[in-house]
């Protein structure tokens, strides 16, 4: 019996070529983007979307063209944080920040669900979400952007999909809260990012100065040799975000 690779007749389906065309579509669409930054954590509830939205606005106030991809498909919050609206993607929000999000497509309160067989949907659901992310990147007419921020959900799955879709690992801005539990979870994500070859731009420590005690940002900064770019208090001012924007 011959092997798969020994059968070399042309493949009429051209599946590899179709996948290649999808990747080229993403690359062509993002050709006008100066920098792509992934905002990630590995830990849920640390304020990634909050940081992403306010950072995007601060960069925009500095005169840059900014876009945000809400890669948290199951818990989209970017449109609300940016007060974004419009009928044509990308929607435009506060300070002119553009965005695309599943929250712009789902009815209020509706969970992300896909048509298809419900039994063992775990087999295909991940691929469907990756396809949605690919379309967010490749089908939105972003135009020329100085910065495209990618707001990632907790965990590493979306980051790994992005590495594949972008063809290269994106630079990473890490968000943590001060606690040791957050530090330990974020450490895993940062290690994975380093292993994939992402540049670590720095760490933002959020929710500083209240009940949450610890030194997560300082610990991770020492461990990974990357700076703490900002410590965000519970009630930040616009200047807090403006200073962070200048440090990127």
């Amino acid at each position: 019996m011959r092997t798969y690779h020994q059968l070399t007749d042309p493949d009429r389906s051209g599946l590899a070529a179709q996948i290649g065309a999808q990747r080229r579509r993403v690359a062509e669409r993002l050709a006008g983007v100066g920098r792509i930054l992934a905002v990630m954590s590995g830990k849920g509830g640390v304020g990634k979307s909050y940081v992403t939205a306010h950072l995007g606005r601060a960069v925009a106030r500095a005169g840059k063209a900014v876009g945000v991809v809400d890669a948290d498909l199951n818990g989209p919050t970017i449109p609300a944080l940016l007060q974004a609206s419009g009928t044509t993607p990308p929607a435009v929000g506060l300070d002119g920040v553009k965005c695309i999000s599943m929250g712009l497509l789902l009815a209020d309160g509706a969970p992300l669900a896909f048509k298809g067989p419900s039994a063992e949907s775990f087999v295909w659901r991940g691929a469907m979400e990756a396809a949605a992310l690919r379309e967010f990147l490749g089908d939105v007419e972003w135009g020329t952007l100085d910065v495209l921020l990618l707001d990632l959900p907790p965990g590493m799955q979306r980051y790994l999909e992005l590495c594949d879709l972008l063809g290269a690992p994106p630079a990473v801005l890490t968000v943590t809260i001060p606690t040791p539990e957050s530090r330990d979870a974020v450490r895993r994500a940062m290690r994975a990012a380093v292993d994939r070859g992402s540049e670590l731009l720095g760490i933002v420590e959020n929710m500083v100065g209240g009940e949450l005690q610890g030194s997560a940002a300082a610990d991770l900064s020492r461990e990974f040799g990357t700076p703490v770019l900002a410590r965000i208090p519970w009630h930040p001012t616009p200047d807090t975000w403006n200073q962070l924007a200048t440090r990127l």
Partner: protein, 133 residues
Amino acid sequence: MKFLCVECDQQMAFTERALPGDGTLAATFKCPKCGRVVAMLANPMETQLVSSLGVEIGGRTVPAEAFETVGANVVTGGPAWSADAQERLGRVPSFVRGMVKKIYADYAKERGIREITPAIMDTARAELGLEGM
């Protein structure tokens, strides 16, 4: 996936793709030497997996539309749509259809409307300034 005609030791050639129903995807292959035809039947879960990759078995005959996978597969929720309203929404360009649909759905939900009809769309369009949508 490739198919080998064992008797002829020959790679079989793709001939046809079909969706016969119940979520089955059928792809037929023919041995170019002996003419034997076989059909590969994918179960609904496998069919959905192929669909989620955004590829066409047998090759693409038309270029991919913007938001093709999202538009075809995401259940957006919200109020019901009458057949006429669905038909009208279908005429909205695919790359804006999702956002326009949400705007109508949110409009209806805020007003306690259970089914979106063309008349509701007309009213919403006038109130929200959605000319051409």
